[in-house]
Each structure stands twice: as C-alpha cells, then as structure tokens.
C-alpha cells in the first residue's frame, strides 16, 4: 500500500473527481457529503449541492454532521420544503448526479439500507430508505460510495431499498426508471462500473498499491475485471490538504 494517505482518503478523492462545476448533485450524508464538499473546494467550485432537507445550492463552510445542519440553510441559494425538493427538483430529472452510500450492494448495484436478514425478523435493522429510492430512480446518474468488503459486496442484497440495474439489462427501462442508475461505485480499493452489455459491476480501476485480486477477495461474487484496468491517479497535495481540513484530520 502506498503510504501518505488512508484508503478512505483516496476513496473520497476518487469520488470527488466524479463531480464538475456544471454538476447539480443530490448529496447524501457521510462519505458522499465529504466527497462533494471536497470537490467544491478543489476542482469544481461551481458544483450545485442539494441536501434532502431542502437546501438548494448550499456551500457550507464546515462539514455538516446531518443533512439539515443550520450551516446548510445559511449558505444555500434557497431553502425549499421537503415536498418541493422531492417533487419539483428530484422527480422531474433536474439533478445530474445522486451521491449515495450503501450498507449492502450487489452484482447489479442494487442497494440495501433497510435490513440485514429477513425483513420481518431482521438480524440488523438499518435506518431505511430516506430519499435514496427516488434519488436512485430519478437522478440522471448515481455514484455510490461504499467501503469494499465481502459483507457489503454481496451476490444478492437482502433487501432492495434502491434499484441499481435490477437483474440485468433492460430492467430499469421495464420499471420506468428514467435515470441511468449507478454508473460508478467508488470504494476504498478502486472503482467499479456496470458492464455496458450485462450491467454487471466490473472492476475498472484500482487505487495505487491495490491489486485486482485484493478487490476480488473483498467481493462476495466472482468480480469481473476490465482488461484495461486503470490505476487511480495519486491524490494531489492540495486534495489531501483540503480533505484533511474538512475532516479535522489535519489536527487544526
């Protein structure tokens, strides 16, 4: 493993690089929020961040703990009601990228944030859907940020909270989902993308020092690897400096 940064840091940097100044991004809390806030402070100053609390075009000067911290409202272009954010902004397809996390994700990038185990007799009850099902359905595309492990990367999710590519090609169209669904899954080991033909998640990129075998070992299905496997460019000093000032890892 290359030293000088953590696997979480390169995951966050890789996720931030998916966003541009032209992007309108629906931001989930946690890793997605950290990545979006890194992007807006580095290469994507025009990034338009939306949180489901109704804060549109927000630019918090500190990283919020929740999706509704006061700093999000104070720095927003406008604050709208919850029905408005879902009905007027998300549903008609006005948002380019949905940034989501996951407790479990499967071969076709379906996402579970509801239960581990049986729904009526769960082993672990998770928080549930929140805004994710409709974010996954209606954003033009979805980027998922999740640490890669056999526990999280499973052949079939225990519960489909948010639809990725269903059971394969044609499922999103059949279900009437208008966005493209997950186009990238960013992990602490690399980047997965759905195969254009089969829609199956395929390893297309590894972070420096990570091998395809490392990623395959952390995946609960027989993970396909792209023939032209790329390597994530190292985080720049600027990216790391800004990220650490956000997360408090710089000790300031």
């Amino acid at each position: 493993m290359t030293t000088g940064y953590t696997s979480d840091e390169i995951m966050t940097v890789a996720a931030a690089r998916c966003l541009t100044s032209q992007t309108a991004c629906f931001v989930g809390i946690g890793l997605p929020s950290t990545a979006a806030n890194l992007a807006v402070r580095t290469h994507a100053p025009g990034l338009w961040m939306i949180y489901e609390s109704g804060t549109l075009g927000t630019r918090p000067d500190t990283l919020p703990l929740s999706i509704g911290d006061g700093v999000l409202a104070e720095t927003a272009d406008t604050v709208v009601s919850v029905p408005e954010v879902f009905n007027y902004w998300l549903q008609p397809g006005r948002i380019d990228v949905g940034f989501l996390g996951a407790a479990q994700i499967d071969r076709y990038a379906n996402i579970n944030t509801t239960v581990i185990g049986d729904y009526t007799d769960p082993k672990v009850r998770l928080p549930g859907a929140g805004g994710a099902p409709e974010i996954a359905a209606s954003c033009r595309e979805v980027v998922v940020i999740v640490r890669q492990s056999r526990r999280a990367f499973v052949e079939r999710v225990d519960f489909v909270t948010s639809v990725g590519h269903g059971a394969g090609p044609g499922d999103r169209e059949r279900l009437g989902l208008r966005g493209a669904g997950p186009t990238r899954v960013i992990t602490d080991l690399g980047v997965l993308e759905p195969d254009p033909a089969t829609r199956e998640l395929t390893l297309v990129q590894v972070h420096p020092g990570v091998s395809a075998e490392d990623a395959r070992a952390a995946t609960g299905w027989d993970l396909a690897v792209a023939p032209d496997l790329a390597t994530t460019p190292e985080p720049t000093p600027e990216e790391l400096k800004v990220l650490r000032s956000l997360t408090g890892a710089d000790g300031v």
Binding site: S66, G68, G70, F86, N87, P122, V160
Partner: protein, 274 residues
C-alpha cells in the same frame, strides 16, 4: 390557545392516537416528546419521516405500538438502538412498522393537507418496499396510461411541531429548514406547537412559513424546546448530544437511568407497557 406544555399534551395527545412530531433535523419538538413520555401515553401510532433521537426515546419508553416512517436513524451518528431493540427483540414491546421513502411520506402529508385520499409519484418501482408495505400501490394515469406509485393520505389525529415564534393570537412563524411541518399541521385534526417565544408582532423573515392561528389548536411556550436539535436564529444543533445519545441508546439500563434522571419516568416494563 396559549397553554402550558403539560396541559397541551394532556388535552391533545390521547392513548391510541396517531401522532406526528415532525421536524426535518431542524426544530424537532423534543420537549413535547418528553412530556408525552412523562404522561405515560400508550399505544400511539407515531408518524415521522425521520424518527430520530426523540422517537428512540418515546419508543424505548414503551409509548408506541406502531411507527410510520421513512428513515429511522441518529443523523450523522448511526443507528437508533431503542428503535432497533423494539423491532428486533420486541423490547419493551413489539413495534409494528409501516415503511416508506421520503418522497412517499412527503406526498402522503401533501395529500392529507390537500383533502384528497391519495397522492401519486414516481417512486418505489422495483424496490422491496412494495412487497412489505401495503400502503404502496400502483395506479394508471387516466390521461397517458403511465404506471405511477400511489400512497394514501396521512391525517394524524394530532401533529406536534416546534417553531421559533408565535403571536398572542396563536399565529405561528418558523423559518430556516421548514421541512414538512406546514403539510403535517394542515393534514392533522389537531395541532400543538411549542415555540421559543411569544411576541406582540411577527416581523416577517425571509423564507418563513406562517401558520394562521385557525389551524393551530394550541401553542406552548418552551424556550429550548427543540434541543438537542436547533432553532435557527436561537441556538445551534448540539451535535455532541447526538453523538452521546449513542451510548445511552445501546444499553437498556443506561436508557432506564436516562428516563429516571432526565424525564422522571419509570423504567419501561417489558411486555406490560401496552
């Protein structure tokens, strides 16, 4: 119209009621939730998009039989362990759940506020929520033939919210992140609003929601009534308190001590709380 909080809860929140304490991270009516625990309400159907710490407390105290919701967690911290214990272990009593997405819940309140029996939205297609939640159906658009999700109106017996201010006539003003509170009040049969302060005149504030007194059943003055959430313009979110709740929530005994020390309520009796 303006009544002490204990009287407002006694008059407006009854055993067996469907009760919505709404607030989307901001302006959560925490003090009112604690008063519901203190008064020992039972068999409530709790409704909320984002049941967080205060619902964890009400559920842990054994006040609720059902929960209608879309995201149950400690925002930015993790899980709610009293909520988990009730669902996974039936402690202190089983909790029936009716689970939606945020878009679905928001539209259910809009339908309730609008006086129509259901709402339509693009939602839920392909998710397992459709199989688990009987209040998610599909309808065909009579104009285009398109298939859309339908969810029934939510009309709580009582909605409880917290706001920054009211005037002496009981008009209520809130601003900042206003979430779903307007719809939740307009959808309810009765409403109780706790406020930071009562003023002679409500000076307009950008982005405000103003609830006319005719849709507000009672106002109670409870400064700090949203803590550890926040009241924009009054006090900030106490993020440390949300982080500290995790340890209390994880342990039944620690929770019982919290109930005794903070609420003055007895420990919940497993299986007998109903």
């Amino acid at each position: 119209m303006i009544v002490p909080l204990d009287e407002g809860v006694r008059e407006l929140v009854h055993d067996g009621d469907t009760v919505a304490l709404e607030g989307f991270t901001h302006l959560i009516p925490v003090a009112a939730g604690h008063e519901i625990i203190r008064q020992g309400r039972r068999d409530l159907t709790l409704v909320r998009m984002t049941p967080d710490v205060v619902y964890d407390q009400v559920i842990g105290a054994g006040c609720a039989a059902r929960l209608v919701f879309s995201w149950g967690g400690n925002p930015g911290v993790g899980s709610l362990h009293r909520f988990r214990d009730a669902i996974q272990n039936g402690w202190p009593r089983p909790l029936e759940i009716e689970e939606h997405s945020h878009a679905g819940m928001a539209n259910r309140y809009v339908a309730g506020a609008s006086g129509v029996p259901f709402a339509v939205l693009r939602g839920y297609a392909g998710t397992d929520l459709v199989d688990q939640t009987p209040t998610i159906k599909t309808v065909e658009c009579p104009f285009t033939g398109e298939r859309l999700a339908a969810v029934p109106a939510l009309n709580p017996d009582v909605t409880v919210i917290h706001a920054q201010r009211a005037d002496r006539a009981g008009n209520v003003q809130l601003w900042g992140i206003t979430g779903i509170q307007k719809e939740a009040v307009l959808a309810a049969r009765r409403s109780l609003v706790t406020v930071e302060e009562v003023v002679d005149r409500l000076e307009p504030v950008p982005g405000q929601v103003l609830l006319p007194s005719r849709v507000v059943t009672a106002v109670s003055v409870v400064p700090g009534g949203a803590r550890p959430s926040y009241a924009h313009g009054y006090y900030a979110r106490d993020n440390a308190a949300y982080q500290a709740w995790d340890a209390v929530s994880r342990d039944r005994d620690a929770f019982a001590r919290w109930l005794a020390d903070e609420i003055g309520a007895p420990a919940p009796l497993p299986g007998k709380a109903g």
